[in-house]
Amino acid sequence: MRGGQGKPLLSVRDFKVEYRTGAGATVQAVRGVDLDLYPGESLALVGESGCGKTTFGLGLLRLLPRLGHASGKVMFNRGDGTEIDVLGLDGRDLRHFRWRDAAMVFQGAMNAFNPVLKIRAHMHDTMRAHTKATRQEIEERAGELLRLVRLEPERVMDCYPHELSGGMRQRVLIAMSLLLDPEVLILDEPTTALDILTQRSIVDVLHEVRERLGFSMIFISHDLSLAAELADRVATMYAGRLVETGGVRDLFYRPRHPYTLGLIKAVPPIVGDLPDLESIPGGPPSLAALPKGCTFSPRCKFVTDECKEAEPPLIPITDEEGSAHDVACIHSKDVHLDRSVPNEKLGTAS
């Protein structure tokens, strides 16, 4: 039922990330995540800011800042059957893992480029650092990928990053991340801060490129609508842990964790009349002072005394509708999304 087929490409177990915050103190930003990513799958990681989504993505690629420390087990399964322990890699092997096996597209494309290098130099540097490709081969590969993301290589290759619009930069970054044909692409808020039509073009490009090249992706987003569109499977993250994972339809139509339910009910749809929206009271807890028991309990409307005793584990559930997914909530049976069908006439709107 876990969406994919065969062996997982990326298998994450009890993954934790700690940041040192000075004077021997640490803060756990990711607190034990178990996750499998299957070949060809698109997984969305959703949640509010400060839930540990970006830290999780950086941790997977070993890109954490110096004060961050990742532990647990991350196994990457190369197509030829070799298994790699990502957290144990160093030197050449780590460089091989990054870009060739897994690549990342960062939020805020401007910061991901060197402002004094042209796009051509970025492409060549990346390829030369990881392969023995000739100039000619690099030009061809870069041109092919730029065309794939609907850019004209002749125009873009000789530009400096600042000469491109935000949407173009983001597409160049996607093309660059695919230069070495990675199996896994991690995208951190790939469309945030872009205009609607530009965002649409990025989404369409991602659909197309994934269909052509067949990589798996994990994309991190606070935008649930984007997850609904791009993901096969969705994982909701709260206070450094996954609280619900499941197929995109299961999660959106039958969320069983109060947090996922709250997120869905807070997003205004564009089509149809005005539905009742609700926000989640309060904000995510400070990671340095987590509430006892279920970390969501102070904001949860299903809360009982029992919730404050222990943090519920992520366990598989099946309900009468045949929906199966994993939820970390002792009241998941009571959580139901009562959604009015979009397009349906609601009579009065107020």
Partner: protein, 349 residues
């Protein structure tokens, strides 16, 4: 009753704020940039006018002119029927107090070295709304309660860095309320907030509109937010400095006529996997927004428009004309063919 019938009809009272043929031209090395090009807008007391468009469409420039922060190159900005740029000093001061601005970034718009109490009471004391620091503190408590920061006494001694983004934005709104404004200009005021709290801030603003009768010029790039906040008001869609479609919000969202508005609405993903994957979408002819320094001739949307007709669209700039009752669009094709067939997702009146 359907949503479309509920749209407010034209009122006869004096609008609170009118922009009449207002333009803003910036001189740059690349030549003059027409950031806003002859727009007409009006906001009635207690009404919401949403201004939507992509970045660079001139939304913020229009808002700055409405707030009296920038002087239009041409055209007239009137408050309560009086041209603000011919007002006497005292009247201009009164206008400035009546129109308050809530910025996008609550991390930048609050002074980090002032406590919330200092931030809120400064305008109260400066403009003589209350006398003495005790009365000012009481008024501050009242204002913080209005924006749902309760218990207000706990927030008074705090500094902005001790608050969350949503709480900060509420403080910014409370500060805007200190001088009893008649119009609040909210420029992308919720776009930096997390989805989970955005709705509660919008609901709070909606309550101020209903309880205090404050008018809103609500600027956003997010049509879903415009829909939620401005459902009973009107929406103007801007593209490259001009208004391309205007009408009651439910009509703009559910029955858009201008190809640009349609493209925007189609482009937005829905929080519903089946719906968002089956939503019909027309392909634009070009992804790139033309530069304001080199606007295409005729309709400035024509290089991207899926309904482009050679000879019709690239000649003259289309006028904003009524294409359906209460709804106007600036499009040669729509003006010629009428507002067109009812879209499948359009509620039938």
């Amino acid at each position: 009753m359907s949503a479309l019938e509920e749209a407010p009809v034209a009122e006869t009272r004096t609008p609170l704020m009118t922009l009449d043929g207002v333009s803003q031209v910036f001189d740059t090395k690349a030549g003059p940039i027409r950031a806003v090009d002859g727009i007409n807008l009006s906001v009635n007391p207690g009404e919401v006018l949403c201004l939507v468009g992509e970045s660079g469409s001139g939304k913020t420039t229009a808002a700055r002119m409405a707030a009296g922060l920038a002087r239009p190159t041409s055209g007239r900005v009137a408050f309560d029927g009086t041209d603000i740029w011919s007002m006497k000093r005292n009247d201009f001061g009164a206008f400035r107090r009546s129109v308050q601005y809530v910025h996008q970034d609550p991390y930048a718009s609050l002074n980090p070295t002032r406590t919330i109490q200092q931030t809120i009471t400064a305008p109260l004391l400066k403009h003589g709304v209350v006398k003495g620091s005790k009365a000012a503190a009481e008024k501050a408590v009242e204002l913080l309660t209005k924006v749902d920061l309760t218990p207000a006494e706990n927030f008074l001694p705090k500094y902005p860095h001790q608050l969350s983004g949503g709480q900060r934005q509420r403080v910014a709104v409370a500060r805007a309320l200190t001088l009893d404004p008649k119009l609040i200009i909210a420029d992308e005021s919720t776009s930096m907030l997390d989805v989970s709290i955005r709705i509660s801030v919008l609901a709070m603003l909606g309550r101020l509109r209903d309880d205090l009768g404050v008018g809103f010029l609500f600027i956003t790039h997010d049509l879903a937010i415009a829909k939620y906040f401005g459902w009973n008001g009107k929406t103007a869609v801007m593209y490259l400095g001009r208004i391309v479609e205007f009408g009651p919000t439910p009509k703009i969202i559910n029955a858009p006529t201008h190809p640009y508005t349609r493209a925007l609405i189609d482009a937005i993903p829905e929080p519903d996997p089946d719906l968002t994957k089956t939503k019909g979408r027309e392909t634009l002819r070009s992804l790139e927004i033309p530069s304001l320094a080199h606007l295409p001739g005729g309709c400035s949307f024509h290089p991207r428009c899926p309904q482009f007709e050679d000879g019709l669209c690239d000649g003259v700039v289309p006028e904003l004309v009524e294409v359906r009752s209460g709804q106007s669009a600036a499009c040669h094709v729509v003006a010629r063919d009428g507002a067109g067939e009812v879209r499948p997702d359009e509620p039938v009146a």
